[in-house]
Amino acid sequence: MDKNIILEIKLPNIPDIELVALEGLQLMGRCLGIDEDKIGEAKIIVTEAIINGLEHTGKESPFVDVDFTMTKEKLIITIIDSGKGFVPSEVAEPNLKDKLKGGNKRGWGLKIMKSMSDDFEIKSDENGTIIIITKKLI
């Protein structure tokens, strides 16, 4: 059977802590001989998901749970926060032309995550948000 590597991390809300998860991706990828570019894309996805989670997670539990399951074929990423949740369909698609007309330049995380992943699922309610992402690695 295909080798299955699992890493689970509960990240506190401190600057750059997403790098801990990225280090994990790097080492898991190295162990399985995954293409560097694929790991690079996975890192981008994971960075955005963790930043959102930490930005919105509850004050009572200022953590984000990060789980990776990696095989040679694919990576499954699960990111859980305990924030107030949101309605993904209500988030407007960002557009660079509009952003260049002044105002807030942010709002790219979800678009980047979706574009880079092969499957993208959000479950969000007032108790928090779970994002489950599949990224093919071959």
Binding site: P15, D16, E18, L19, L22, E23, E36, D37, G40, E41, K43, I44, T47, E48, I51, P94, N95, L96, K97, K99, L100, G102, K105, R106, W108, G109, K111, I112, S115, M116
Partner: protein, 111 residues
């Protein structure tokens, strides 16, 4: 182990070259934009960012590049990138950044 963000900058033929190192997060992005602004206020309108030593970035960091493009557009200036990591290149493409910014292999390609 990850090193904190840092950068160096120099002017070459009135082109501002910013060479970054480490994670371009909110703090890194802001530092780049501040450095840019200093030179922009002195009339510099061509900016090259060399990211050879930055292979981690986030979308907040990138949003500062959009600030820079906005300002450069006002003056018919241009933002250039060199030595982009392939996943970062892809991210910029997804955002449409290359409609405004240009990839170059070296500063010599900027006339």
């Amino acid at each position: 182990m990850s090193s904190e963000f840092s950068y160096t900058s120099k002017l070459e033929n009135n082109i501002l070259i910013i060479t970054t190192q480490g994670y371009i997060n909110n703090v890194g992005g802001e530092k780049i934009e501040k450095e840019f602004k200093k030179h922009y206020d002195n009339g510099v309108t061509n900016v090259l960012v060399d990211m050879e030593k930055s292979n981690v970035i986030n979308s907040i960091g990138i949003s500062y590049f959009i600030e820079i493009i906005e300002k450069l557009n006002d003056k018919n200036g241009k933002l250039y990138f060199t030595n982009l990591d392939s996943a970062i290149d892809k991210t910029f493409s997804i955002m449409g950044l290359f409609q405004y910014a240009v990839k170059v292999n070296s500063v010599d390609e900027i006339k």
